[in-house]
């Protein structure tokens, strides 16, 4: 006896649906394997993992949260870019506009700011978790080095974004920060000049920090993350008790 076709059956049986979803509902092991293997976003994972790797108290989700915050920062950052003007004369006014005139502008700005602070903390804590569980040991030593580079890029992303609001907080924090860089032995003055593009923070500094913040450093982070995640798989998955 044939079951009557529901609307859902007709949709999931259609040629259109079947052209982009190539497996059935993931309630059998076969379909659960297929959904991971045939989805571009999910196939970052293997089909099966060790049971301990799903334990929240082992990883505290810190690496995943760092990546998730990067995604949130990318989304909110793109929205802010529609309104923010990287000009020393207009930047501060565009901040005021984002906060007062743009729909959900203040919310986007707050989410971007707090996620940025959160990402610095979560990346740092992720490093501590990986260290204390000995997860850097061979064969994962190179991935640990990539992680240290990602920590540096995270600091630079946060630091370069710090100048953009062009308020007193931003201006003087970056003055202090670039002075610290300028104190480097031998190359200090050159480092300071390259960062500022001037003798003090000016339009040339703002456009340098803006370009670093919205394109160069995110691309560098994305590149390193691709290596980082790939190496997790290649080094035998997430670490665990032997």
């Amino acid at each position: 006896m044939r079951r009557e076709q529901t609307l859902a059956d007709r949709i999931t049986g259609s040629a259109l649906w079947r052209s982009f979803v190539r497996h059935g509902y993931p309630d059998t092991q076969r379909n659960q394997a297929l959904i991971i293997a045939s989805n571009v976003f999910l196939h970052i994972h293997p089909v099966k993992i060790k049971r301990y790797a799903t334990k929240v108290t082992y990883t505290f989700c810190l690496g995943g949260l760092s990546f998730f915050m990067f995604l949130v920062l990318t989304m909110t950052g793109i929205l802010l870019m529609f309104y923010y003007i990287p000009s020393s004369t207009q930047a501060y006014q565009s901040m005021l506009d984002i906060q007062s005139s743009v729909t959900f502008g203040q919310l986007m700005r707050n989410m971007h700011r707090w996620a940025a602070q959160g990402m610095v903390i979560s990346v740092f804590l992720h490093m501590a978790r990986v260290f204390y569980t000995g997860s850097y040991k061979p064969p994962r030593e190179f991935n640990w080095v990539v992680g240290v580079l990602l920590l540096v890029v995270t600091f630079l992303l946060s630091f370069s974004g710090y100048l953009l609001p062009w308020d007193q907080l931003a201006y003087w924090a970056i003055t202090v920060g670039t002075n610290i860089g300028g104190a480097a032995p031998i190359i200090g003055p050159q480092v300071n000049k390259i960062l500022l593009g001037d003798f003090q923070i000016a339009q040339s500094t703002l456009i340098r920090f803006y370009t670093l913040h919205v394109i160069f450093l995110p691309l560098a982070a994305a590149f390193l993350m691709a290596v980082h995640f790939w190496r997790i798989r290649k080094d035998g998955g997430i670490s665990g008790p032997l």
Binding site: R51, K137, D167
Partner: protein, 265 residues
């Protein structure tokens, strides 16, 4: 042994009959799996969908909810328009660099702001090339001894870092506990000798003392010494950051957090 010896029919073990050099000692009991393991690991494994995907989805939702609530309740700081002619007192770097700014108060700027963080990052990146033993992977702190070392290094680092800041502040900030200024006044020492060389020595001494104490108390493996050092770095980073964010007021003088003007966020 006593029971065995008294059992009839068995010769009593005579002391000294065993070759002392070849006698095996019981070193440690370790919990482990049987040597023979089944080839099918299905019992240890789970399907990523749904077991892992659900954890990721829930943590993403919980995190988004918290971030959303925080962003609705608390606005990001926006002070007056940037004014190069009006230097706020105190001027502070972003909070995650305030540890370096705190160091800067006590020694040469290049040493505090560039050399120390560079050396720290390179040392951290190099850890896996010094500690290659697979022992303890996947166990927080390696062992109960490792966790005791973490606790000890944490307390030690807090006491030493807070103590050094307070003493340097009391004697005269940036005088290397008075030693540097004494060397300058009496021996004609240069800024380089006090701010760089003497300051480096002053920073290295507590690190060597930490390693020395841990070695004396815990008889550590190389991994456990690195645990003590990493914990020292980790705690020092956050203690210095807290001093920079919450206890430095006008003229970078020590003050209480509630007396601070809003200069960072």
């Amino acid at each position: 042994m006593a029971e065995l010896a008294e059992r009839p029919g068995l010769p009593a073990p005579t002391p000294g009959s065993i070759d002392e050099a070849k006698r095996q000692k019981l070193l440690e009991l370790v919990r482990g799996r049987a040597l023979a393991r089944p080839t099918d690991l299905a019992e240890d494994e789970v399907m990523v969908w749904p077991s892992l995907v659900v954890v990721e989805a829930v943590s993403a939702v919980v995190f988004t909810a918290i971030l959303f609530a925080l962003s609705v309740l608390v606005n990001g700081p926006l002070l007056d328009r940037a004014n190069p002619n009006q230097t706020p007192n105190p001027s502070k770097a972003p909070w995650y660099f305030l540890n370096l700014q705190e160091l800067l108060l006590h020694m040469d700027a290049g040493l505090a702001g560039v050399i120390v963080p560079t050396v720290a990052l390179v040392a951290i990146a190099a850890i896996p090339y010094f500690d290659r033993s697979p022992l303890g992977v996947g166990i927080l702190g390696t062992s109960s001894k490792g966790r005791r070392i973490i606790a000890f290094a944490t307390v030690y680092s807090i006491v030493v870092v807070v103590g050094m800041i307070l003493v340097d502040e009391k004697i005269g900030r940036g005088t290397q506990f008075g030693i540097g200024s004494y060397m300058m006044d009496h021996w004609g020492a240069t800024e380089f000798m006090t701010g760089v060389i003497l300051s480096t020595i002053i920073m290295l001494i507590p690190i060597f003392i930490l390693v020395g104490i841990v070695k004396a108390i815990f008889r550590p493996t190389r991994r456990e010494i690195i645990i003590a050092l990493f914990t020292g770095f980790f705690v020092t980073y956050w203690v210095l950051t807290m001093f920079g964010t919450s206890f430095r007021g006008h003229g970078q003088d020590l003050t209480w957090p509630w007396n601070l003007p809003l200069t960072h966020g």
